[in-house]
Every structure is written in C-alpha cells, then in structure tokens.
C-alpha cells in the first residue's frame, strides 16, 4: 500500500493525468461531501480549488497516505473557512436550512435538498462549527481523530473532547432520527 501510494505521488508530481484521476476519484467525493455538509454553495468548485492547491504544493509534500489525506483536508478546511468568511461579509446570510432549500437551486443544491428531507444532515444542526467539522471529517472523510486533529490544528486529545461533546448532543437527535 505504501509503495503504491509513493508511486502514485511520484506520478502525480510528474503530471501524470492517470495518477491524478486516481487521486481525484478517491478524494473528490469526500472533499465535496465535506464542503456540502458545511453549507458551501458550490462544493464542486471548492473541491477543484483544493485539488489545484494540492497540485501546486505536492513538490513540498512528504509522508504517507494518512499524512496526505490530513494535508488535503487541511487545505479544504481552510478553503471552507475562507468561503464562510466571504459569505459573512455578504449581508443577512440565510441559515443552512434555507440555503439548502433555496428556491433557485442548481443541480448540486437539488441533490442536497433531497437529502435534507430525511433529516440525516439536519441532525448536525445542533452542533457548533468545530463540532460539525470533527464529526463530518470523521464520518464523511473517514479520518481518525489524529488525522482530524492535524486538519483542524488541534491536539488529538482536544479533538476527542470535542467529539465527545458533539456525540452527547447528537445522541438526542439521532435517537429521534432512528425512531
């Protein structure tokens, strides 16, 4: 696995499009899903930005698959924060629910609107921003707590505290979701 990853990265650094297709196929759904769950309006566009940033910085990257995923999602984390900061500068931004069920949806928001209907995503509404990052990165990106800590710039112990608090809130919501 480690050798395959090293070979993949060497190919990607060299501009091998097939290597990039493997990387993007593996990571694009998770990055897009992470951005969608954080309410980013154009999640696919953000995913492209992230992958281009990865391509630009790949020459400086050192590490294995876990380090690579942490690095990629740390870029996504910052890009999403930037997107939110830009959104906050716009007046009277609607809450997540309203944004997802906009009356003028694009194809992507139509998909998300459908998923909102079953309350799967809405359970996350009880979480604050950091808690949502931790849970979404654990669930959608399938990162472990150490990888999440690297992504959001906190210690693994702090991430476990945040996750524990988030789970306490989610239990109420998800037991109703399950009922």
């Amino acid at each position: 696995m480690a050798q395959e990853f090293e070979a993949l990265i060497v190919g990607a650094r060299d501009g091998d499009e097939r290597a990039w297709l493997v990387l993007v196929s593996e990571l694009a759904p998770q990055i897009t899903g992470y951005a969608r769950s954080k309410g980013v309006a154009d999640a696919e566009d953000l995913m492209q930005d992230v992958m281009v940033a990865v391509a630009s910085g790949l020459g400086r990257f050192e590490g294995g698959w876990s380090d690579f995923r942490s690095w990629v999602f740390s870029i996504a984390y910052r890009r999403i924060a930037d997107a939110h900061r830009a959104a906050y500068r716009r007046p009277a931004e609607a809450p997540l629910d309203a944004r997802l069920s906009s009356t003028a949806p694009g194809p992507e928001s139509l998909v998300i609107t459908r998923t909102m209907a079953d309350a799967t995503l809405s359970a996350l509404e009880v979480l604050n921003d950091t808690e949502r990052d931790v849970i979404v990165l654990r669930v959608i990106a399938e990162l472990d707590t150490d990888e999440v800590a690297a992504v959001i710039g906190k210690k693994p112990g702090t991430v476990r505290v945040i996750q524990s608090r988030a789970m306490k809130k989610l239990r109420k919501e998800l037991r109703q979701w399950a009922a």
Binding site: R13, R85, V111, T120, L121, E142, M167
Partner: protein, 270 residues
C-alpha cells in the same frame, strides 16, 4: 437503527446514520468534473515541476524536487502500471469523454505558466501558545497566522470545560463547577494579539446535563395547539428548569402552567 453503547465514535455508535450521511453527501459528483479536475491537477503539478526544474538549472541549485533516483524512476514506472490496472472502464470512458469535450488531454512539458495559489504548508509553524490560568483550570491558546485556536484545556478537579465559541478570531471556553461558572473569552485584536478576559458567575439554571439538583418529574399539560413528541421529563432546581427531553415538532409552543418551549432549545419557567 442499531444503537451501541456510548463509544463517542459516530462511526461505531451510529453506523447507519454515518453511512447514510456519507452516501448522501458524497453522491452525484459529476464525472466530468472529476476528469476536468484530474486534468487541471496534472497540468498544475507539471507546471510546478517545470518551474522547479527551470530554477534549478538557471541557478545551479541542488536539492530540487525533480531529481529522480533509480528508485523513484522505478516507483514512477510501477505507478503507471498500478494506476493503469486500477482504472475502471468507467474512468477510462470519462477520460475519453473529457478529451472529446476539452479537445485533448494535457501535454506534459508544454504548458502555460500557472500562478501558484496560496497553499498551507504540510507542516505549519505556530506561535508560542498563550496560557490562561484561572481558578478553574488552564486554557492554552495559540495564533497560527490569523487563526486563533485552542491547543489544550485542563480543568482542575471538580470542573468541566466546554468550548462554546470557536471561530478563527474568537474563542470562549466555559468552565463549570458545582457552584460557579468561569468563562474565558479570547479574541484577536486589531494588532493581531490575543486578548483574553476571564469572568466568573454563580451556576444557576445551567442547560444541558449540568447543575440540576433536587430534580422532580412533572407531567406537562399539553394544549390543543401543541404537539410534543414523547413524554416530557423536566428537572427543576429552584426557579430554573432544565430540559432533558422535551421536543417540539412545531416551532414555538406554549404550554399550560407558565412553561414555554422554544423549539428544541429547552424549557424556560415563566
């Protein structure tokens, strides 16, 4: 849905919800966007690689990232074989479709210059943490670039700590003791410095699971305009009410006996 014991791991405790959320959020990524992104990534990486190579040749620098050893050449060759074998027919079709749409795939080594976007380094240099020492414990903060973050929280015995606000420029940590609340607020001022404020207050009517004493169960009278799901159990301490399980399916709901339910946020004794 299967519910396991409280493991604090969403993947273990709520596997079905986790799977459903993951599937819902990751579905329907346009294959053409994937192909286009792969092409963009390849072009950008090749351009970055060429830039390094040009710099190395012009300046006589050593240690450039484009130098290939026998081992890396072997790895690259293996990569191409591995990658080719892992590409599904669907992806290959996507490549062909992309080529048809865009008029051809990238030609490595003959690319326009691409300005390099700002990318976080793989290893981030951080500033020395700021430690806020209170009667309830310590909070370690740090400022990395413009982002304020909690490094560590160590509540003293008898105290618990919660991060209630966590943004890039503002943090609030709440320490909860048996009879006292201590709040640590931290902001980044205009000069880019961390400014902290510590305040304390008496713990009365704390929400969530904390600070409830002498709890008693009350049957809540439900008016005709209300629709509460499940039974309501309210723990009352003095004049404060703590919601532990009342959910409203409507928005704001008024109940008899001077109790108001505000969405799912909790109960307030009027």
């Amino acid at each position: 849905m299967r519910l396991k014991s409280n493991s604090d791991d969403p993947l273990e405790e709520f596997p079905e919800w986790s799977t459903e959320l993951r599937n819902a959020m990751t579905a329907d990524v346009d294959p053409l966007v994937v192909a286009e992104t792969a092409q963009l990534g390849a072009e950008t990486a090749a351009a970055a690689s060429l830039t390094v190579a040009a710099g190395t040749a012009a300046g006589g620098l050593t240690g450039g990232t484009t130098t290939m050893t026998t081992a890396t050449m072997s790895a690259a060759s293996a990569a191409k074989g591995t990658i080719a074998s892992t590409l599904s027919g669907k992806l290959a079709a996507v490549i062909l479709a992309s080529a048809a749409v865009t008029g051809g795939l990238a030609v490595t080594g003959n690319l326009p210059g691409i300005s390099e976007p700002e990318v976080p380094a793989a290893t981030v240099t951080k500033t020395v943490p700021t430690i806020v020492d209170t009667v309830s414990g310590t909070v370690s903060l740090e400022l990395a670039g413009e982002t304020l973050s909690v490094v560590d929280i160590e509540p003293l015995a008898g105290w618990s700590a919660t991060v209630v606000t966590d943004t890039a420029s503002e943090l609030t940590v709440l320490f909860e003791g048996t009879e006292e609340l201590v709040t640590v607020d931290a902001i980044v001022d205009e000069a880019g410095e961390i400014v902290t404020t510590v305040t304390s207050s008496t713990a009365v009517g704390v929400g969530g699971d904390a600070g409830v004493s002498g709890a008693s169960e009350l049957e809540v009278g439900v008016g005709t305009d209300t629709d509460l799901g499940g039974n309501a159990t309210i723990g009352v301490s003095g004049d404060a009410a703590v919601d532990q399980g009342v959910q409203s399916e409507a928005g704001d709901v008024a109940l008899e006996g001077g109790i108001a339910v505000d969405g799912s946020a909790g109960l307030v004794i009027n």
